[in-house]
């Protein structure tokens, strides 16, 4: 695996001139192997960014004049907007590369794209790609910091960080909490990133899914596996639901949406199995009535909307940290 830590490879851009004390990452490719200290630095800074986003003047020009390229090979309006807003609030020039109309469609390889982008001298690249390992590949070929916004079924580190921030703000800590991740684990980069982060921070991870949606030996990543909601939910502080792609409910992995909801959907009866103060999360977009009941998604225990807000804060924090911007800088701009 490619190292996302700075000491191993010097960067060519000016950004390397900054170095945040104690922070070791130059790329954010995944949560696997990221230290609790780096995670804590990111979460602490993200927590401060929440206040920035809540005030009337949301600009914070710590990264003024730097260039952020959003390179999304898969459509995702939500995630792309979140990164775009984060970059703009830090004063960056944000460019969204529309892959649908770019030369990728004309047969350019990922490495050709990387070389082309490199020549434009970006400071940060955010990439989403359907192939696992795509972000790591780009990080090897580009002179700038790379943030993985989802690579296949591998990792989606900013989602895990925003989930962690949401939990921390609700529960005060991650340590010692019992977190159930429910649903399509097999195809989920969100699940993998969360498993790594939660383990690093001392939470206990449970996975609840039908066996067809559990990848081989997933328990060895650091989780206890359950095949029934009724078995896995009791004692949980956090219930994290995953989206089930429609094409996977047509008999290949799960027979039908109605059977999935019957046995794995989160409804009020199942919520009651967890701890009384359990919070309910979903990375979105939700399939209401498939993995989660509407009244639960909109209920008092749901923090799903807050997750979206935390997304911008976390991405701001990640960009600043990777660029080595000091926390107290920029607010006067």
């Amino acid at each position: 695996m490619t190292s996302q830590h700075s000491p191993k490879r010097p960067l060519e851009t000016d950004a390397s001139a900054f170095q945040l004390p104690g922070f070791t990452l130059k790329h954010l490719l995944g949560m696997e192997g990221v230290s609790p200290r780096d995670i804590t630095i990111l979460l602490d800074r993200a927590n401060a960014m929440v206040d920035v986003s809540r005030r009337a003047e949301k600009r914070r020009n710590t990264l003024f004049g730097r260039t952020l390229i959003n390179l999304f090979f898969e459509n995702s309006t939500r995630t792309q907007s979140s990164f775009e807003i984060a970059g703009m609030r830090l004063g960056m020039d944000v460019v969204n590369m529309a892959v649908q109309t770019s030369s990728v469609k004309k047969g350019e390889t990922l490495l050709d794209t990387a070389q082309t982008l490199n020549a434009m001298r970006p400071d940060l690249l955010v990439v989403r790609h359907s192939a696992a390992g795509a972000a790591a590949l780009l990080s090897q070929k580009l002179g700038c910091g790379v943030i993985n916004a989802g690579d296949g079924a591998h990792e989606h580190p900013t989602q895990a960080l925003l989930d962690a921030l949401t939990i921390r703000r609700s529960k005060g800590t991650l340590e010692g909490l019992t977190v159930a991740i429910c649903g399509d684990i097999a195809h989920s980069r969100v699940a993998r990133s969360n498993i790594h982060l939660l383990n690093a921070m001392g939470a206990r991870v449970r996975l609840i899914a039908p066996s067809t949606l559990l990848p081989s030996r997933v328990d060895e990543l650091g989780a206890t596996v359950f095949r029934r909601m009724e078995d896995g939910l009791p004692g949980c502080d956090v219930i994290m639901m995953l989206r089930l792609q429609t094409e996977r409910m047509a008999g290949a992995f799960v027979p039908s949406a109605r059977e999935y909801y019957r046995y794995f959907g989160l409804d009020s009866a199942r919520v009651r199995l967890a701890n009384r103060d359990a919070i309910i999360m979903h990375p979105g977009p939700m399939n209401r009535g498939v993995e989660i009941a509407s009244d639960i998604a909109d209920g008092v225990q749901s923090v799903i909307v807050e997750q979206v807000e935390m997304g911008v804060a976390v991405r701001m924090a990640v960009m600043e940290a990777l660029m080595g911007a000091p926390l107290d800088g920029g607010d006067d701009a």
């Binding site: 029934r228 008999g251 290949a252 992995f253 027979p255």
Partner: protein, 436 residues
């Protein structure tokens, strides 16, 4: 056939040879039934309470009713071949008190509403218990899993694509994996759709007759595949109908490894071989095909030593139109409900398999594998019973079959042993008429 309405209260079956394979009990004595349930067995039991009935068994064998794990019925969609009603009558005449109905109907039993319809129809039209198995894949197409959880909750006793195996290994893998979460049993025959395209056992006979052969490998290769998939997924699996000696070895190895597998054999493959086809007799065209005598003996040995668990009728009614054809163009399948016990008793009379073991393979073994609390004579169990004379000589006349189709390979066959009485929940649902 006379069906006496069961009276509330007690029935005492007296003077019987009571054989219960579940407990190994084999004694001369009496059995008391109350409200459709077995109360006790013993010697010289007191007469039943007032209003109760006494049945003199005249020393014949009283055993649990047969459980047939593989029965094709035409209803819905093929009522000209067999209805639930006629299948129920045939079963009762053959001593079968519980049967598993295959989902190969039209429409296919692959959703909850049809499953419920079939269960309801079976309850009202049949005196014996008919339990539907649901399809593994939608429309038996081998692609998309059915709703195992909902179907099982609605009463599907097992899952099978009936005549077909699941050809796609990935689909089979996922089905085994998903079924495990619901503790559901998958059952399948093994006949590779491309390799098994022939019409009779591959070999000298097929060569001489100019017929396309079905090599043994058409069964062995997919069976080996499924054993690997069961090992990989830790699923529950029953190989419905095996026919080759090598298949028995495959099952023995799988059981040695501790896999949750069981195996069945159709009565035809235990009692007939390919030479019975004779002059292109299509009623001997069955699937799996009749193999040679060595294979037949290996199946008998497998039943005897316990490698094979279950004997089934593989009852598959076919109309004249699909059978009175040149051999290569005829349909597979033979009726078998009414000859299941009599045919199986051939193995007892030939001294190949003890009577108790034969009964075990026809009663408690399938019941246990299907998770049914029947096929045994313990206190509180369903009073589903048969009374049979293991030595009663008779000749099968196909005009007397209760089944709507008469495609039996046993026309004019001589048997020793016949069902005299079939009892479901304490009610007599079949009684043999006096023989002239």
């Amino acid at each position: 056939m006379t069906a006496t309405k069961g009276k509330p209260g007690q029935q005492l079956y007296r003077n019987a040879r009571i054989m219960d394979p579940a407990s190994g009990l084999d004694m001369h004595g009496d059995l008391l039934v109350q409200n459709g349930r077995i109360v006790r067995t013993g010697k010289n039991l007191p007469p039943p309470k007032k209003g109760g009935a006494i049945v003199d068994c005249e020393g014949h064998v009283l055993a649990p009713g047969l459980v047939d794990s593989r029965v094709f019925i035409g209803e819905p969609g093929g009522e000209h071949r067999e209805t639930i009603k006629t299948a129920g009558k045939a079963a009762a005449a053959g001593g079968v008190t519980t049967m598993v109905m295959m989902p190969d109907t039209s429409p296919v039993i692959d959703d909850v509403s049809l499953l419920e319809f079939v269960r309801k129809t079976a309850k009202s039209k049949s005196k014996i218990r008919i339990l539907p198995a649901a399809a593994i894949t939608r429309g038996l197409q081998g692609q998309e899993m059915t709703e195992f959880g909902l179907l099982r909750d609605a009463g599907a006793v097992a899952f099978t694509d009936g005549h077909k195996m699941v050809d796609d290994a990935q689909v089979m893998r996922r089905a085994l994996t998903y079924a495990r979460d619901f503790d559901a049993l998958l059952m399948a025959p093994h006949r590779d759709p491309s390799l098994g395209r022939g019409v009779m056992n591959a070999g000298l006979n097929a060569t001489r007759m100019g017929l396309a052969g079905i090599p043994r490998e058409a069964e062995i290769i997919p069976l080996e595949r499924d054993m690997r998939l069961v090992a990989m997924t830790k699923g529950r699996f029953h190989a419905s109908t095996l026919s080759t000696s090598a298949s028995v070895e495959v099952i023995a190895r799988a059981k040695d490894k501790g896999l949750d597998v069981s195996a069945g054999v159709a009565l035809a493959n235990l009692t007939l071989n390919e030479t019975d086809i004779g002059d292109y007799r299509t009623f001997f065209r069955v699937s799996p095909p009749l193999r040679d005598e060595q294979d037949r003996l290996a199946m008998v040995e497998g039943i005897k030593d316990g490698t094979l668990d279950i004997i089934c009728s593989n009852h598959d009614p076919q109309e004249e139109d699909t059978k009175r054809l040149p051999f290569a163009e005829a349909a597979d399948g033979a009726v078998g409900l009414e000859t299941l016990l009599a045919g199986a008793l051939r193995l007892y009379h030939s001294a190949d398999v003890p009577l108790m073991r034969i009964l075990e393979c026809l009663t408690v073994a399938p019941a246990q594998r299907l998770g049914l609390k029947c096929g045994r004579m313990e206190k509180g169990a369903r009073a589903d019973l048969i009374l049979f004379d293991p030595d009663h000589p008779w000749v099968l006349d196909d005009s007397e079959l209760h089944s709507r189709s008469r495609n039996t390979p046993f026309q004019n066959a001589r048997f020793s042993g016949r069902v005299l009485k079939t009892i479901v929940l304490g009610r007599t649902v079949f009684e043999l008429k006096d023989q002239h």
